[in-house]
Amino acid sequence: MTPELGHFALALAVALAGAQAIVPLLGAHQRDARLMAAAPALALGQLIALATAYGALIWSAVTDDFSVMNVAENSSSMKPLIYKITGTWGNHEGSILLWCLILALCGGAVAAFGRNLPSALRARVIGVLGFCSVGFLLFALTTSNPFMRVWPPPVDGNDMNPLLQDPGLAIHPPILYAGYVGFSIPFAFAVAALLEGRVDAAWGRWVRPWTLVSWLLLTGGIALGSWWAYYELGWGGYWFWDPVENASLLPWLTGTALLHSAIVVEKREALKTWTILLAIGTFSLSLSGTFLVRSGILNSVHTFANDPARGVFILALLALVIGGSLLLFAFRAPALAASGLFAPISREGALVLNNILLCSMAAVVLTGTTYPLFAELLFGAKISVGKPFFDAAVLPLCAPLFLAMAVGPVLSWKRAALGPALMRLWWAALAAAAVGIVASLGPARGIPALAYAGATWLILGSVAEIVERTRLFRIPPSASLSRLRAQPRAVWGAAIAHAGMGVTVIGIAGMSLAVSAVVAVKPGASTEVGGYTWTLQDLHDASGSNYTARVADLVVTRDGKVVATMHPSRRSFITQRQTTMDSAIQTDGFQDLYAVLGEERDGSAILRLHVNPLAPEIWFGALIMAAGGMVSLADRRLRIGAPRRAAAAVAARA
C-alpha cells in the first residue's frame, strides 16, 4: 500500500509541477495578478507531494518491503538501519527522486523566502523551476520509477554495494545534489530576467545569496566526495580526475565565477550578459554532468547501472532546458545593455580576470573529460586523458589566479592603481617568497615550493585585506577595532574563503610529497616507511552485522616512542560477496599515517603504508571556504528582504 501511495504522490507531483510551469508564466505574461499569486502555493504543493513520495520510499526500505524492486535490489534485512535510509539514494531510481525532491525544495524556498521579490519576477522564477521539475519528474515516473513491484518478492534483498555503506558517503549525495540543483535558482533567475528583458543591481542582489548557498553546498559535497575517495577507496589519493569528479568540479568552477561576476552586476551594473550566461552555463554543466554519468557514456568508478534508453530521455530533457535557455539568451541578451564602465585595472577588472581564469580551467577540464568521447566519435581512436594532462593544463592557470586573488580585494572599484595596491601587500609577498625559499631548501623542490609560497600569499593576502580595511597601525588601535566591527560580513566571508583556498593549496602541495610503500610483513615483524617503524603485532578475524573482517593490529613508532596504534581491515560482505579495504588513518591534524591491509600470502600480510604530510589541510581548507560562504551569507545586505526593509526605513524617516 505504501509504495502505491508514493507512486500516486509522484504522479500528483508531476501534475502540480505542470501547473507550476504554466500558470505563473502565463500570469506574468498577461500581467494577471491572480495567476501569478498561484505560484507559491503550487510550488509548495509539489514539494509536499514529493516529500510524501520520498517518505514512502524510505518507509518501504526501512520496513524491508522486498516486493518493491528497488528495495529488493539495493537493500537487505541485515543492513543497519542508517544505511537502509541512506540506501534510498544510493541507486539510480532513488537518487533521481532525491534530485527531484531537492528541485522542489528550491521552488519551495523561492516561494517561502522570495516574498519581497517583484511578483512578476517571482512568478517567472517559480515557473521556470516548475518547468525543470516537470521534465525530471516525468523522467523519474516513466523510466526510473522507484515504486515498481516485483512478484514473487524475494526472501531477502541483494544488499547495497559495500563501498557505499559508509557514513561519509551516506550524507554525500544529498549535499552534492543540493549544490548541483541549487544552481537551478540562479538559472531560473537568469531565464526570468531574459523573459523580462531586464537585469539590474537588485537582480544581482537577489541572485547572490542563492548562488552562495549552492556554492557552499557544492564545495562541501566535492570535499566530502574526495575525502570518501581518500579513506574508503584505499588508494591513498584524494582526487583522480575521474569523470564523475570532473562533473562536480565543472559547475563549481563556473559557479565560483558566477558568484564573483554577480558582485559586479550588483555593485556596478556591468557584466550583465556574461553573468546571465554563467548562470545558465553553471546549471547546464550540473545537468550535463548527471547525464554523462547516468547514461553510462563516460566510464567511471562511481557509475550506477546504466541504460542507453535512459540516456536518450535525459539528452532530450537537456536539449529542452539548455537549448531552450540558450536560444532565449541568443534572442534576448542584446537587449541587456551594460551601464557601468570600468578601467582594466580595477576591482571589476580583477573580477573579470578571475572569471576568465576560472572559465579557462572549466574549459580545460571539460575538454579533457569529453575529448576521448569525441575522438572516438570523429576519428575512431581510443585515447585516454588522465592526470598528467589535467595537472599540466590546470596548474599554469592556478598561478595567475592565486596572484590575482590576493590583489583583487584591495583594488578599488571603477579605476585603481596597481602600484599602491601592491605596496599594501608587500609584507605578504615577502613572507611568501621566504616560505618558498625555505621550502625549496627542504624536500619540497620545484612546484610544491611554489605552491607553499602561493598558499602563504593567499592567506596573508586575506589578512592584509582586513588590515588594510581597518587601517591597523595607521590609526589608533581602538579606532581600528571599531572599523573592524563595522566591516560587512561579506568582506569577512571573502577573506575567510580566500584563506581557505590557501589552506587547501597547502594540503595539496603537502600531499605531493607523500611517501608510500607496499610491503609484506609477517606478524611480529616490522618495517620502516617514511621515517616511522611499523610493527604488525597481530592478524585476527572480526565480524559486523553484515560482514566478516580480517583485522591487522599495527603499532607505529618513531625513535622508540609509540605514535599510533592502527587497525586496517579487509571486510567481506556476505550478501554482495564483495570485499572492501578499510584503511586506517591516524591524523594529528598536520600529517596522516595511512595503512591498508591487502591479501595474505605465505603467512605474511601485504600492507600498503603511506605517510601523507599536510593531507588533512585539503579538507580543512574546503571547510574554511564553506565557512567563509556562510559568513558572507549572514551579511545583512544579502538578506533577501533587505532592500525593501531599507526602503521602508527611508519612507518612515521621511
Partner: protein, 186 residues
C-alpha cells in the same frame, strides 16, 4: 536591439551552437552504444593480434592445460577466466553452457579460487568447460592483462588472440562479436 553590432549578436549565438554540437555528438554516441559499436568500458587489449602468453597451469584432479595445448587444439578456443566468488560469472554461466553444447571449445581458468569452491560452483551452475585449469598465483591472468573476472579471450587455431571481452558475456556479444569470429576462424 538594432543598435547592437551584428558580430556581437552573432557571438551570443555561439553558446547555443556549442551546446547543440555537443548534444548531437552525445546523441550519436548513445546510438552507437545501443548498436554495441561503442563501449565506454572497452579498453583495447594490446594482446589482440598477438600470440597468447606462454603458460602451463595445473588442473583440479586431472591435468590442466598449457598455452601449447591451446595452440594444438585444432579449433578456435574461448579462454574464460572465472571464479566461484564472482557474481557476473554465475550470470554468464548459462551462456557458456549453451556455447559448449553448440560445440564451441570453452576452456576455463579458475582465477584465485579454492579447488573445493570451484568444484561446488561447477556442480551448482553447470560445467561448460572442455578443459579446466587453475591459476592460484594469478600470474597467467596478469600475463593476459585480465583486470577482473569474468574475462573471455577468443584465440584462433594459430594461438593468436583475436578478441577480448572483459565482464560477463551477453547474448549481444555472442551474436555480434563471437559468431562472426567463429565463422572467420574455424
Amino acid at each position: 536591439m538594432s543598435n547592437v553590432p551584428l558580430d556581437r549578436r552573432l557571438l551570443l549565438w555561439a553558446p547555443l551552437a556549442i551546446a547543440a554540437s555537443a548534444g548531437l555528438g552525445f546523441y550519436a554516441l548513445l546510438g552507437r552504444m545501443r548498436e554495441g559499436t561503442y563501449d565506454p568500458r572497452g579498453v583495447p587489449s594490446p594482446l589482440i593480434g598477438k600470440r597468447i602468453p606462454t603458460f602451463d597451469l595445473p588442473g583440479d584432479n586431472g591435468p590442466g592445460f598449457s598455452s601449447a595445448d591451446v595452440m594444438a587444439a585444432g579449433t578456435p578456443v574461448l579462454i574464460n577466466f572465472f571464479a566461484s566468488w564472482c557474481i557476473p560469472c554465475v550470470e554468464e554461466a548459462p551462456l557458456l553452457d549453451q556455447l559448449h553444447k553448440q560445440g564451441v571449445a570453452v576452456w576455463g581458468i579458475a582465477y584465485k579460487d579454492k579447488a573445493a569452491a570451484t568444484a561446488a560452483y561447477l556442480a551448482r551452475n553447470g560445467n561448460p568447460y572442455a578443459r579446466l585449469a587453475r591459476d592460484d598465483p594469478g600470474q597467467t591472468a596478469i600475463d593476459f592483462g585480465v583486470y577482473g573476472v569474468p574475462e573471455t579471450f577468443f584465440v584462433d587455431t594459430d594461438g593468436i588472440i583475436r578478441a577480448r571481452w572483459p565482464g560477463a558475456l551477453t547474448d549481444d556479444i555472442i551474436a555480434h562479436g563471437l559468431k562472426p569470429l567463429l565463422k572467420t576462424y574455424s
